[in-house]
Amino acid sequence: MSANPSAAPMAPRARGSRLAWLKENLFSSPLNTLLTVLVAWLLAMAVPAMLDWLLFDADFTARTAQECRQAQGACWAFIAEKHRLILFGVYPYDEQWRPLLATLILIGIMVCSAIRYFWKPWLGLLWLAALTSVAVLMWGGVFGLSHVENDRWGGLPLTLILSTFGIAFAFPFGVLLALGRRSHMPAVKSLCIIYIELIRGVPLISLLFMSSVMLPLFLPEGFTIDKLLRAQIAIILFAAAYIAETVRGGLQAISKGQYEGADSLGLSYWQQTRLIILPQALKVVIPPLVGIFIALFKDTSLVVIIGIFDLTQAAKAAIADAAWRGFSVEAYVFIAFIYFIFCFAISRYSQGLERRLDKGYQR
């Protein structure tokens, strides 16, 4: 390949001439020309075929599966037919405005958290209000909303709930674990290390299995937690270990002088942690924390394996319909697109944030 790190990051571009741009960027050397031709040939083979399948030969309007199979391309009519099932699972059909509203609230609170204007102490209250209203909307039972058991929840709102509730509860737990790992008390420190390393050493699936198989054994007889809550607990415990390691990185980046300065002011441990250390440490680790959120968002798809009706499981349920056999690729592409939009938007935001937060340190 023609990696050339020795070149200046932004070479002055010859202006005014597209030909010059082409020559500089695509045909600067024989190797480069060869690569360009090769990649262009590959694209010419792949892209038109893909576009044909996705759009030009696709069937958007078919009424039945038979009709849809006539088409050469994708059968988007299948998605049109099944989109309510994929997006909202088996939530009662007439009540599906409630999960829709809950989804919008969750997206809204995420967008709010991304805007710097909202980075105030009352953002926590806003989160509390949002999560409460989501719970009320989904469960119902008050304000004249009919009660819906949580085993009927599903689809996109469930994926969002698992990831946002997961990060919201894992965050304080993870910060405590990170502080514990940096503690001078040997007993606290070793407990935290054991927890963090144990959780990070095993896959999330084994924790999900554990929560679905072993949690009922752990609890006293007659006391049960429902399946969704068990999965949520596993996700929280899992995410907390990763958050702890990230936050620890931030704590290590704080210079010793900050601790000594806080000590000399006579602040107690919790005062210096709250007022001096954490504000600086957390600022450093915001971008990796966003990365953890993206990973968590993707990882919620694993709850499929213990049979929870999230977005991925809903897509599988749509595929399983005997009347519409054989369109699994369409369903997977559809939900992959949804996952992609969320993850890509968040990661773009994280990159921008990293640049903006870096400003203070650039000289």
Binding site: M1, S2, A3, N4, P5, S6, A7, A8, N25, L26, S28, N32, L35, T36, V39, L43, H184, M185, P186, A187, V188, L191, R200, G201, V202, P203, L204, I205, S206, F209, M210, V213, M214, P216, L217, F218, L219, P220, E221, I294, K298, D299, S301, L302, V304, I305, T312, K316, G326, S328, V329, Y332, V333, I335, A336, Y339, F340, C343, F344, S347
Partner: protein, 395 residues
């Protein structure tokens, strides 16, 4: 206990006082350990009670019993008459097989794409960026389902199998590739092994000589020569005969060659494609982390480009690359547990079947955790050793 006491030179008399930080620390720790201990005791006693109510005996004795279920694919011989212990072993081997192959392929593909992302060629770097962004923003599980659906539902049957290269077949029964057969195989492998050992030894000697005398040994060309010549010599020694076993269609399926099941193919494809996107980012940031001045200094010393890359840039880039690369390898190994979703018999899937049959949930989960912890710790110990070897030696 705390750092404060250690700096005070031998206090005259220790009294238990609330104002003494070490007393407080001790008290806090007693409280924390007490709470954790109580919770653990509570959970364990509940568990024991629940187990006795359900008539489940604890212990690993069940591993000796007959498993009674078949496993789709296995690197070692296995029949349903074998024990649960053997089944778990097969599962572990399957996990290791897909992880090792996945790590090698993901490293190669990821490095290629990472370098391509830095290319001055806009077309190449653009395609690489799109690949990275798309692949790492879609959940791995979904990608596995996708590839599995492509292979099992959208590929033709064995009779109409696709043939992208002569002898390579893709059908809804998986991938088939030609394999080498003949007595010479062992000789060739032996020659290759000997060549690797020789290259390592010569490399060690050449480094020592260069450090002592400053003379540079042409290690690269000698290594290539040895790696080619010795297997060739082995082939000659083995009687210079080698048969290529090409898969052929017999009845409704293929016979001969190396067969990769749809489950294994989908899992490997998904793991490699997903992880390579992350590896590409690691490689890219590692190379970018080496300063411009290093290239210029190497140029000023008169080092040719290739040698500058090998002697100056790569050693520094590796230092940045190794730790995140380690965690990508660990992730790939842990992610291979998603095999359970598409029916590849890895350790999680086998243990899951076992605990459904025997009800030994706790032992099963413990086996999974112990297996992954062992693998994770081994990988991280090895990578930490390698990391220390290449770490910056400061005076």
């Amino acid at each position: 206990m705390t750092k404060h006491t250690s700096s005070v030179p031998a206090p005259p008399r220790r009294r238990l006082s609330w104002n003494d930080p070490s007393t407080r620390a001790l008290l806090y720790q007693v409280i924390v350990v007490g709470i954790v201990g109580f919770v653990v005791w509570y959970l364990v006693s509940n568990t024991l009670h629940n187990l006795s109510v359900r008539n489940i005996s604890t212990g690993f004795g069940f591993l000796e019993r007959e498993a009674g279920f078949a496993i789709g694919e296995s690197p070692v011989s296995y029949t349903p008459a074998d024990t649960y212990g053997r089944a778990v072993w097969v599962g572990l081997l399957n996990t290791l097989r897909v992880s090792v192959i996945g790590i090698v392929l993901a490293t190669l593909l990821g490095t290629l794409i990472g370098i391509a992302r830095l290319s001055k060629n806009r077309l190449v770097s653009g395609v690489a960026s799109v690949y990275v962004e798309v692949m790492r923003n879609i959940p791995l599980l979904l990608q596995l389902f996708f590839w599995y659906a492509i292979i099992t539902e959208n590929m033709p049957g064995p009779r109409q199998a696709l043939q992208p290269l002569p002898g390579v077949f893709i059908s809804n029964r998986g991938f088939l590739m030609p394999s080498l057969q003949g007595d010479a195989i062992d000789w060739i492998l032996g020659g290759f092994g000997l060549a690797v050992v020789l290259v390592l030894m010569i490399g060690h000697w050449a480094r020592g000589r260069q450090a002592a005398t400053g003379q540079i040994f042409p290690l690269g060309s000698v290594a290539v020569g040895l790696l080619l010549a010795l297997p060739l010599a082995g082939w000659m020694a083995g009687g210079a005969e080698l048969a290529i076993d090409v898969p052929v269609l017999k009845g409704f399926n293929f016979a001969g060659g190396i067969a990769l099941s749809p489950e294994f193919s989908a899992l490997l494809l998904g793991l490699v494609i997903y992880t390579s996107a992350f590896v590409a980012e690691v490689v890219r940031s590692g190379i970018q982390a080496v300063g411009q001045g290093q290239w210029e200094a190497a140029n000023a010393l008169g080092l040719p480009r290739a040698r500058a890359l090998r002697l100056v840039i790569l050693p520094q880039a590796l230092r940045v690359i190794i730790p995140p690369m380690t965690s990508q390898y660990l992730n790939l190994t842990k992610n291979s547990s998603l095999a359970v979703a598409i029916g590849y018999p890895d350790i999680v899937s086998v243990v899951n079947t076992t605990l459904n049959q025997t009800g030994q949930a706790i032992e099963g989960i413990l086996i999974i955790m112990a297996a992954y912890l062992t693998v994770s710790l081994s990988i991280s110990v090895f990578m930490n050793w390698y990391n220390q070897r290449i770490a910056l030696v400061e005076r």
